[in-house]
């Protein structure tokens, strides 16, 4: 059994009148118990087309599981973005430097899709914990 943690810190000195500083750490466990997720897929992909493609397909993953997915746009452009979706539903846009971290239940057809906004070599890195 592996022990993996994911910590987030959201901070701002001037978003609100009082400083914002939220920190939360999750231990990544299998569904409904305290046994750690023990499989990781880690990859970096460069895209040169604006076509929507599967970034992570459900094939090989257990459905209704407590998987976690991290995706980052490693670019630096403030205008180029990846549109991230699950099946046909758009989740949001990752602009240069943005990242996301989600639970993913990998149910039937719930592939995670990615669509670059430009065809000029955009790179994403991602990890799947399952």
């Amino acid at each position: 059994m592996a022990t993996t943690t994911a910590t987030i810190n959201i901070a701002s000195a001037d978003l609100t009148d009082n400083a914002l500083n939220i920190t939360n750490t999750a231990t990544l466990n299998k569904r409904g118990n305290l046994e750690g997720l023990d499989t990781i897929i880690s990859a970096t992909k460069t895209f040169t087309s604006t076509s929507a493609v599967d970034l992570v397909a459900v094939t090989g993953f257990t459905a209704t599981a407590a998987n976690k997915v991290y995706i980052a746009n490693t670019g630096t452009s403030e205008s180029d973005y990846f549109t991230i979706g699950i099946q046909s539903e758009e989740v949001g846009r990752l602009y240069g430097g943005d990242w996301m971290f989600i639970p993913w239940d990998a149910n039937t057809d719930d592939d995670i899709t990615i669509t670059p906004s430009v065809a000029t070599a955009m790179t994403a890195e991602y990890m799947v914990f399952s």
């Binding site: 592996a2 810190n9 901070a11 701002s12 973005y81 539903e89 949001g92």
Partner: protein, 141 residues
């Protein structure tokens, strides 16, 4: 202009043969700009006492196509308790006790609401926050 950062750290000494130690910081800007997001719902806490599928964040016209960021955390300490997360009618995943998520939310259409469905009706605490570009104001009830 506000400056807000979101930093993730992923760590494990034993999920693979090499130590996992990833840190990534994002500066939360308006879509397509280097101007920081300036509005927030603030950090909210709700204790759910029903397993009904309910609205958490309402997609609004002023938010469609924008670069909002959403943080949701299941603050339960019972490992079996979870929160199903949906965008529009699409299941995203389950936040088990102690789990959190952080997503860009482009509110792709006015019906692209974020909804949650607790697994139990016995006081499941949830914290959430949205940092955003704009939200349509609604009239007071």
């Amino acid at each position: 202009m506000a400056t807000t950062t979101a930093t993730i750290t992923l760590s494990s000494a034993d999920i693979q043969s090499d130590v996992l130690a990833l840190t990534k910081q994002a500066t939360l800007n308006k879509g397509g700009t280097t101007t920081g997001l300036e509005q927030t719902t603030g950090l909210n806490k709700i204790i759910y006492v029903s397993t009904a599928n309910v609205l958490l964040l309402d997609s609004t016209v002023l938010g469609v196509g924008k670069a909002a960021k959403v943080y949701i955390a299941n603050k339960s300490t019972d490992a079996s308790e979870y929160l199903d997360i949906q965008i529009h009618d699409q299941n995203v995943g389950r936040l088990y006790a102690g789990d959190w998520m952080f997503i860009p939310w482009s509110q792709s259409d006015p019906d692209g609401n974020i909804r949650v469905k607790p697994s139990v009706a016995t006081a499941l605490p949830v914290e959430y926050m949205m940092i955003h570009e704009g939200a349509t104001q609604t009239a007071a009830a």
